[in-house]
């Protein structure tokens, strides 16, 4: 049965997520429009970003309904990126300090 393999779900789920994505995008735009600054700005940006990404992956890309064999194979490898980010944060901190020390430009 080739078509037992398809992903068929009620349209209402998609419509709800679609509306939700619009709302979340408006919120993230409002973060800039309202000139929020500092940690509040960054945490809100990340919050709305992860919510949007999560809904797109889970519902639009059907990961929610896939077998764990597939969803784990897709969702776990990107976790190593956190290590990469950590390394590069350390690296850029060091570069920033060296630049300030030798070029003394400040900001």
């Amino acid at each position: 049965m080739a078509h037992a393999e398809g992903q068929q779900h009620p349209l209402s789920v998609y419509i709800k997520v679609w509306v939700l994505l619009f709302v979340l995008s408006t919120f993230s735009y409002m973060v800039d429009y309202m000139h929020l600054e500092g940690y509040l700005r960054w945490s809100l940006i990340l919050l709305f970003m992860f919510l949007k990404a999560g809904f797109i992956i889970a519902v639009f890309m059907h990961i929610k309904w896939e077998r764990w064999a597939l969803s784990f194979a897709i969702c776990t490898p990107p976790v190593v990126l956190l290590v990469f980010i950590g390394i590069m944060v350390i690296e850029s901190d060091y570069t920033f300090l060296t630049r300030n020390l030798f070029f003394g430009t400040g900001s």
Partner: protein, 242 residues
């Protein structure tokens, strides 16, 4: 429907266990691992995973240059503002582009749904609408690039607003994403044409691959398109809003 040649060795759907047990059994089954998943879809996922790492490399290198520059980063919100006769509205074009891409994701998901219902005309129409949204996104991006290069004098190596790394990060990240959207539009049109002709109803063999096509291809196409939208979510957050 004719059984798929790849799925002959697979256990019956009723035998498959859900959750963690299913995960362990699928991976240790000495058969194909991704059960109930057409090979085209599995391959698209593997491709998207590798693409995730490419875009992550771009975004992480952007993070690195932005954190390490001793010169102030250009005020992104103002750089990308646009005025419609009155006061310039910050980031408005980018916001419109974001909404266009989300809208196109929605029409894509509907196309996949109608594809599985074998509604040929609605599927083709929705695919074309998705392609049009995608094309308008690329058009706006071209406008944005032109404005930045011609009016603001942004170059990959310098710009008048601040840190010189801004240009290279911007052109690299949005350029690569725009290229993905353009390729997506091309394939959307190709698949819309095939759906319209009814290729997937008669499982006609493809021109290049000589494999039988069916409506699963629409879902695979959808995965790619949603991924393009997904990448934009991250670019929007990190490059434009941060």
């Amino acid at each position: 429907m004719a059984p798929q040649d790849t799925s002959t060795a697979v256990a019956q759907p009723g035998d498959l266990k859900p959750g963690l047990t299913g995960l362990a059994e699928d991976w240790s089954s000495d058969q194909r691992t991704f059960k109930n998943v057409p090979w085209g879809k599995a391959m698209m996922w593997i491709f998207l995973l590798s693409d995730t790492f490419i875009f992550s490399c771009f975004l992480i290198s952007y993070m690195t240059v932005r954190m390490s520059t001793a010169v102030a980063w250009p005020p992104v919100s103002e750089v990308f503002s646009l005025s419609f006769g009155g006061e310039p509205i910050p980031l408005i074009l980018i916001a419109i582009m974001t909404f266009i891409l989300i809208t196109s994701s929605g029409t894509m998901v509907l196309a996949v749904n109608y594809g599985y219902r074998k509604d040929r005309k609605k599927t083709a129409l929705l695919l074309i609408i998705t392609a049009l949204f995608g094309a308008s996104f690329v058009g706006m991006q071209a406008f944005e690039w032109t404005k930045l290069i011609v009016e603001e004098g942004v170059r990959p190596w310098e710009n008048p607003m601040g840190a010189s790394q801004f240009g290279s990060a911007f052109f690299m990240i949005t350029g690569f994403h725009g290229f993905h959207v353009s390729v997506g539009v091309l394939f959307l049109v190709l698949i819309a044409r095939k759906v319209w002709r009814g290729d997937y109803d008669i499982e006609k063999k493809g021109f290049f691959t000589s494999r039988k096509g069916n409506y699963e291809i629409v879902e695979t196409m959808g995965l790619y398109w949603h991924f393009v939208d997904l990448v934009w979510v991250f670019i929007f957050a990190f490059f434009y809003l941060w």
